[in-house]
């Protein structure tokens, strides 16, 4: 087996089909180093949960290898994989108390009673639930159940912890609190975690690296800030954060800069060449709302466009301004709420501009 010992988990050319006609996972390759927090992010049906289930052993890979700690685990039964898992509905055993839930993985490993008690107490302390040991799961709040589920997945010291949209059922505030808590547990214990979510904010906050899934393929695998600042295709640019799109055609390329003729008659603009093959290709220009400059001073930026204000939504710290630019009517600009901010009106014509480096020419 040509496995690298530095990697805890390796997916090699993994494919999965349920019906023999369609591939749910087309060609999945990823290497996870020990102690990493990797997130699989994507819309539902993109294949991310299937990959997690294959790693946990509840689905079999149709082809390809899954390697855990240097061993191929394609034919290892789920209960022998030593992988902890947190489920979306927590899957806490309702007929057992919190302490019994935590003791379960230790009991099936035939540990001694005193050792079990000690480990259970330690795990409960870790998630600050030491006073709830004798409660039933149904007597706990959603956030507490979540913490018990996390503690249970960690209490037997697994090589790897999988989390399948664990925060999906919590309300917004609790979800944010739990994100930090899980992140801290990850840092404190140094345990390797593979996390699945469709919430990009969650992915950006928690992860070391994020694999963006769509249509059974990893669109981009990179750290959060690379994904946000340097998306390599239009899907990732759209999926991560807010994004403005302008469609056009490449007319010339000079080094890593290309000139693009905008579709709606907006004229010629410059963009960073990322994912275009050559002159004459269609392209999607991707531009973050906060990188758009309103009413730029003469010569401040090389790209200038005429825009018409369509809608203004006050958000306190900034005003979300929807403008129409070159035929696109959902172009968003975030105008920060600062002293010298001029007041725009609906229907007003303004000029907008941006730096060439902020505008990325991606696949159409």
């Amino acid at each position: 087996m040509d496995s690298n010992p530095d990697f805890l988990v390796q997916f090699k050319n993994v494919q999965k089909s349920y019906d023999g006609v369609h591939l749910v996972v087309k060609d999945f390759n990823v290497d996870m180093v020990k102690g990493e927090f990797l997130t699989m992010l994507g819309p539902s049906g993109s294949g991310k949960t299937t990959c997690l289930m294959m790693l946990a052993g509840f689905e079999t890979a149709t082809s390809g290898q899954i390697i855990l700690d240097g061993q191929s685990i394609n034919n290892v039964a789920p209960h022998k994989r030593e992988i902890g898992m947190v489920f979306q509905n927590y899957a806490l055993f309702p007929h057992m108390s919190v302490a019994e839930n935590l003791a379960f993985p230790l009991q099936v490993r035939k540990m001694g009673k005193s050792e079990i008690t000690e480990k259970v107490n330690h795990a409960l302390k870790m998630v600050r639930l030491d006073h709830f040991a004798n409660r039933r799961p149904a007597q706990l709040s959603g956030g507490q159940q979540q913490r018990v589920a996390v503690a249970r997945a960690l209490v037997f010291r697994p090589k790897l912890v999988l989390m399948d949209e664990p925060l999906g059922a919590l309300d917004k505030n609790l979800r944010e609190e739990m994100q930090y808590e899980i992140k801290h547990i990850h840092e404190d214990l140094g345990v390797t975690m593979l996390y699945v979510t469709h919430d990009q904010v969650e992915a950006l906050t928690m992860s070391d690296r994020i694999a963006v899934f769509d249509d059974g393929i990893v669109q981009q695998l990179a750290s959060p800030h690379v994904l946000y600042d340097e998306p390599t295709n239009a899907f990732v640019a759209n999926f991560i954060g807010e994004n403005n799109r302008l469609m056009g055609k490449v007319v010339s390329i000079e080094g890593d800069v290309c000139s693009v003729e905008l579709d709606g008659g907006g004229g010629l603009v410059q963009a960073k060449k990322i994912n275009v093959a050559g002159v004459g290709d269609r392209t999607t220009l991707s531009l973050r709302p906060e990188r758009v400059i309103v009413d730029p001073a003469a010569g401040e930026c090389p790209n200038n466009c005429e825009a018409r204000v369509e809608e203004l939504i006050y958000h306190g710290d900034h005003t979300r301004t929807r403008v129409s630019v070159s035929g696109s009517t959902d172009f968003i600009i975030k105008v920060p709420n600062t002293h010298n901010q001029q007041h725009m009106k609906r229907g007003q014509s303004i000029r907008i501009g941006w730096n060439t480096g902020d505008c990325r020419a991606l696949d159409a």
Partner: protein, 420 residues
């Protein structure tokens, strides 16, 4: 609002009406409407179920025969000490009552009523009433003793006195194989006369056996139903429900065809040389037949509650147990099965209670050893016409069912019971 608090702690509405009264008024219409919706069923149940149950239960303790047909005797015995034979007044009353009873053609009722308590009393009463009508004048004491020497026996009189009350516990005592002696003590009947206790025991044992078999058979089916894809589970569900759509009589008689000595199953076994022709198995008209047929009939009542509970258990629980390192068997036993306990409980309660009172199937395939207490109740209703004893047996059966229901409610909780 200034008048929101008229008194301390009592809320009122804006126009000064106490809030509670106002709330009651506003809800009165809803309550009336709800009651009207329930009313047809309530009336139906009352007439067809509650009243008959109460009436039969009352028959188990009611005792009108002696008091109504021998009223003068009862009056005369009121002051009797019960040690020596009663005086002339009692004999005179007896003659009057026997004559009147014969004239009104209801002397037979008191005859069979007293015959339940002591065999031979039917002959004593009927014979005496026939002869007493011919007696011209008193004193009657000597003449009556001459007609039947039972009237010279103190115990005959004490029996009549004992059963002269409006209510009696003698049926209930008889229903559990005890009897009341001439001295008024309650003692067990002699061994060979005990029937009901062993019949109750057999009914409980067979119901228990049927429940266990139903659990064992229904659990895998319910699991399959709950886990198979929709299209297949629907087909399987139809198979499970098929017995429900077939007449009970048809199903029971089909078992006779299959299981009887010259039936299909025996023929196959003989043909396969597993048994020889002389050794055909007796599988029907005994306990085996009753258990087989009743298990078949009651199986859906176990499958449906189990299925409805299992359907609500997402696969993540088993997966969680596996991921925590438990092997599939341990996961199933320690995680899955405990989560289905409510289903097992609900199904068991249904099957057990239904089989305790089952009548048709044991009557058809039970033979001698496979009949249940319900068949004995039916016998007393239809053949021996001892409705008092039938009522008492029925009442005891009802109490047993209630006890099991209470146990179930205590252990599992009736609110957790789900059907289909």
């Amino acid at each position: 609002m200034a008048n929101t608090y008229s008194k301390v702690g009592e809320m009122t509405t804006n126009d000064g009406v106490p809030l509670k009264i106002s709330l009651q008024r506003s809800q009165r219409k809803l309550k009336l409407w709800a009651f009207l919706l329930v009313a047809p069923l309530l009336i139906f149940i009352t007439i067809s179920f509650i009243l008959p149950v109460v009436s039969m239960t009352m028959r188990g303790v009611e005792n009108p025969q002696v008091a109504n047909i021998l009223p003068n005797v009862v009056d005369a015995l009121y002051v009797w000490d019960g040690v020596d034979l009663p005086d002339e007044a009692a004999y005179e009353a007896l003659v009057i009552d026997l004559t009147a009873g014969r004239k009104n053609k209801n002397i037979g009722k008191v005859a069979s009523r007293l015959n339940y308590e002591r065999s031979g009393m039917r002959r004593v009463i009927s014979g005496s009433s026939r002869k007493a009508a011919k007696l011209k004048e008193g004193p009657y004491k000597e003449q009556m003793i001459k007609i039947n020497k039972a009237w010279g026996d103190v115990t005959t009189w004490s029996l009549i006195k004992r059963e002269s009350g409006a209510f009696t516990y003698s049926y209930l005592v008889a229903a559990v194989d005890y009897k009341i002696t001439d001295q008024g003590d309650i003692v067990a009947k002699s061994e060979e006369k005990q029937i009901y206790k062993s019949l109750f025991g057999r009914t409980l044992m067979m119901s228990f056996t049927i429940t266990i078999i139903c659990i064992l058979l229904a659990y895998p089916i319910a699991y399959l139903l709950a886990t198979l894809p929709m299209a297949k589970s629907n087909l399987l569900m139809i198979l499970v429900l098929l017995p429900f759509w077939t007449s009970l009589l048809v199903r029971t008689t089909t078992w006779i065809v299959l299981l009887q000595s010259n039936g299909v199953l025996n023929d196959i076994l003989v043909w396969m040389n597993i048994i020889d022709d002389s050794g055909r198995l007796q599988m029907i008209y005994n306990q085996t037949g009753t258990i087989i047929a009743m298990t078949h009939i009651l199986l859906p009542f176990m499958v449906l509650p189990l299925y409805s509970v299992m359907k609500t258990i997402p696969p993540s629980y088993m997966r969680a147990a596996l991921s925590l390192g438990a092997n599939p068997v341990v996961s199933y036993v320690r995680v899955y099965i405990p989560m289905t306990v409510t289903g097992i409980g609900a199904g068991s309660l249904l099957v057990f209670i239904l089989s305790i009172g089952y009548y048709i199937t044991p009557a058809l395939v039970g033979g001698q050893s496979g009949v249940l207490i319900s068949n004995m109740i039916a016998y007393h209703m239809q053949n021996s016409l001892n409705w008092g004893l039938a009522g008492a047996l029925g009442f005891i059966l009802l109490v047993i069912v209630m006890i099991f229901y209470a146990i179930f409610n205590k252990v599992i909780g009736i609110d957790k019971m789900k059907m289909g």
